[in-house]
Every structure is written in C-alpha cells, then in structure tokens.
C-alpha cells in the first residue's frame, strides 16, 4: 500500500565536497505509524541520510515524503511534514525563551503571533514542559531541552518524526521519560541511535548502515544479533 508510506527513498547517493561517497545507493521506506531504528557505526552515513529527508542535503536518486518528491519548490511542505530533532539541543533551541522557540515553527507556517503562542503552549503541555515556558534554554537540563525540542517539532504538526541520537547526554531516568513520551506519539518515527535498549523498546524494525549502504534490515533483535551490536564488556 504505497499511499501509507510516509517516506520512500530509492537509489539515494551523496558525495561529500572532498569526494568521499557518503551514501552509495540507499533504498528505504517508512510506513505511517511505524517506528524504525537506524543503527550503524559512526561515519556510516546515518546522519547524512537523515538530512536528505527534509531537503537539507540534496543527493542523486529519489526521496519522497507522503508522496511529495523532495525538491526546491516543495521544501516548505516537506519541512512541515518531516520533523527533525537534531542531536545538539543547543543548536535546535536558538530562541531566547522556550515559548518563543516552540512558537518559531508555527510562526513560519503562517500562524499569527497569538495562535503560534497558543499552539506552542499546547505542545509544551503535551511533552510535560509547561512549567518552563518563560525560561531561557540555557537554564534547562539536557532532558528538558530534548523534550522542548520535540515540542518545537510537534508544533509543526508533522507526519514523521526523525530523531538523531536523542539519548545523547541523557541520564537513565531522562532516557526512560523520553522513551515514554515517544511511545505516546502517533507519528511515524525514525530514530538514529547507538542505544540498543532504547531501540528495542520503541522500534519494530531496524536498518543497519555500513559505509554508506544498508547492510541489513529486519527485526531489531535480529539485526543486533547479526551485526553483534550489543555492547558487552
């Protein structure tokens, strides 16, 4: 059922400025409501891949979001449908206060200042961060920043959430909170992560990246087994 695929990538290739082939023919799909984990070594192309999904990078091949090809003229729509949560929350939360930051997305979609603020408030409540509405991001903990970042992305009402290493800097309680929050969200999710337990708790499918290619795809446990991806000391 093609119509239910929120992300469809065919033959994606991308070369860095210095000539390295970062992505070498990626075929990938994501269904509505599905949660997929992206595993792989550092430098295997996971983040590079993910940046193609909302048009921040442009490679050869085809990338479609909810049936829309990702092109210069469709970027505005694509970016409303794909919500990207970056690894560095300090780069993501760039406005002076939490409320202004979460309202940034809706404001760009054309909502007036009042409506944008209203929607921001609702999203912050949904992620449990209503109490820090007027705080400066600098004063938040890593876990709080992560949740505010998710609120900022949810405020665009996306179809897909893409999260790049979301458990970075989070302590175990914050990781549990994050997992609970993500499990409660209905959107399709693509999670780039090194955290195997996190992947197991949320994802129904895993894709393994190796040197710019997909080396394997299947159930999370199966992939972890096949590529010996569980940390053992």
């Amino acid at each position: 059922m093609r119509a239910a695929r929120v992300i469809e990538v065919r033959g994606l290739r991308y070369r860095y400025a210095d000539g390295t082939q970062a992505l070498d023919g990626i075929d990938f799909h994501l269904e509505a409501g599905e949660c997929v984990a992206l595993l792989g070594a550092n430098g295997s192309g996971k983040t590079t891949f993910v940046l193609h999904l909302n048009g921040l990078l442009e490679g050869e091949g085809s990338v479609e979001v909810c049936g829309l090809p990702v092109r210069k003229d469709t970027l505005a729509d694509v970016r409303a449908k794909v919500g990207l949560v970056f690894q560095d929350s300090d780069e993501q939360l760039f406005m002076p206060t939490v409320l202004e930051d979460v309202a940034f997305g809706p404001a760009n979609l054309g909502l007036g200042p009042q409506q944008a603020a209203e929607r921001a408030r609702k999203m912050l409540e949904q992620v449990g961060m209503a109490s820090v509405i007027h705080k400066a991001p600098y004063h938040l903990s890593a876990g709080e920043k992560r949740r505010v970042a998710i609120a900022g992305v949810l405020a665009m009402q996306p179809e897909v959430l893409v999260l790049d290493e979301p458990t970075t800097f989070l302590d175990p309680p914050a990781q549990r909170e994050l997992a609970r929050l993500l499990a409660s969200l209905p959107q399709a999710k693509l999670i780039v992560t090194h955290d195997v337990e996190f992947a197991r708790s949320l994802a129904s499918r895993a894709v393994f990246f190796e040197r710019g290619r997909i080396a394997g795809e299947g159930a999370v446990d199966e992939i972890i087994q096949r590529f010996d991806w569980r940390p053992r000391f």
């Binding site: 940046l51 909302n54 921040l56 505005a76 970016r79 409303a80 919500g83 990207l84 970056f86 560095d88 300090d90 780069e91 993501q92 760039f94 406005m95 002076p96 206060t97 940034f104 997305g105 404001a107 760009n108 979609l109 200042p113 400066a136 991001p137 600098y138 900022g152 992305v153 665009m156």
Partner: protein, 236 residues
Amino acid sequence: MHHVVVERWSRGASPLHGLDARSKMGALLAFLVAVSTTPPRAQLAFLAYAALVVAAMAASRLPLGGLVRRAALVLPFSATFALITWWSGQPLRAAALGETSFLSGLAALLLIATTPLAQLLAALETLGAPRILILVVQFLYRYLFVISEQAQHMRLAAHSRLGAAGARGLRFDAAAGALGVLFARSWERADGIYHAMLARGFTGRFSPAVHPHFHPADAVFFAAVLAACAGIRLVA
C-alpha cells in the same frame, strides 16, 4: 558572579518591575538630564533627587545595600575628578560631580535591575533600534554562556596538561590554536543553528516581534517622574 545577581534581580516582581520598559527609560532620561544640568550651588536639589531615587529603590523591592554597593563601584573614578576639583578651590562643583555621578549610576542600575534584557530589547525596538541589532544581541546573549563554558573547559583541559611549565599559562601559539578551535566550533554551531532554522520552515526573514502594550500606569509613572525632575530643576 556579578551579572547573575543583576539578571536574577531583573526577573523579580515589584511595582517597578511591572512597568513598561519604555516608561522607565523615559523616566531615566528625564532624571539624567535634570541631574546633569543642575548648577552645583543647588545642593538641596541633589538631596531631592536622592529622595526620588530612594523612593524608586523602595518600589523595586530589591536589596538597598546591594544596589548602593554596585552603584558605588563608579565612585573611585569620579572621586578622582571630584578631589582635583575640590583642591582647585571649587568645593561645590566637586560635591556636584560626585553626586551627579553616583545618582546617575544608581538610577541606570535601577533600570537594568528591574527590566529583563528581552523587555529592554523589545522597548528599544519600538523606539526605532534597527531590527538586525536587536536580533544579533538576542543570539549573542543566547549563546554567550554556552560558548564561554566551552572556552572555560578548553582552558582547564589545557592547563591540566601543562604541569610545571604552565606557570604563565599556554604558549602564544598554543593559545592561538585554542582560539582557532573555539572559532571553528562556534562557526559550526552557527551552521547547525541555520539547519535547525531551515528544518522548522525558516523562510528567510525573522517574523516581526510582538510589541508590549503601554498601560495608563506606565504613562502616569513617566509623567510623575518628569514633573518631579522638572520641578526640582526649575526651583534649583
């Protein structure tokens, strides 16, 4: 740290905190003009100005001692002038120098200590400050502590590798290298911010800010201070 205290004060609540920043800025301006143009022989006028400032300090519900101490930091400098003026035989002018400087500094401090930076910036924008300047200050302030912490970590890491040779800190070229690395991370951070902006639909222009409303209380405050200062000045 000093700035943390004033910033904390600015986020407090009091009648003075609640006033529109523009009204407070106007009042400060009126006060500064009155005080600095008052002839030195009118010493009673300075007493009256001081009374105004004390009233404002009370209305701010901030620690008086703390405020006075911070404003007094300016005194050693103006005291030099004052002393020289005193010795050259103009005691009243000398006194006026000290009083003007201290009262002006205290009044300016009151403005900063009762107005969060964001409100000050919004007020300045309404009064015509260029938008690019306001936005740059906003971003500067947002990333100031983040990057300063990075620099601090780099310093500590470098110093812990210096051992006995590290009495004077890094060598010149090592310090330059550290600067280069800090610059690189800062630039890359700016790239990351730009990506994050694009990812949430940034269309090329920042949306105009929402401007605060002016209430009757604000107008009353400004008018009252203006009248008081004008009155004292004219009588002097």
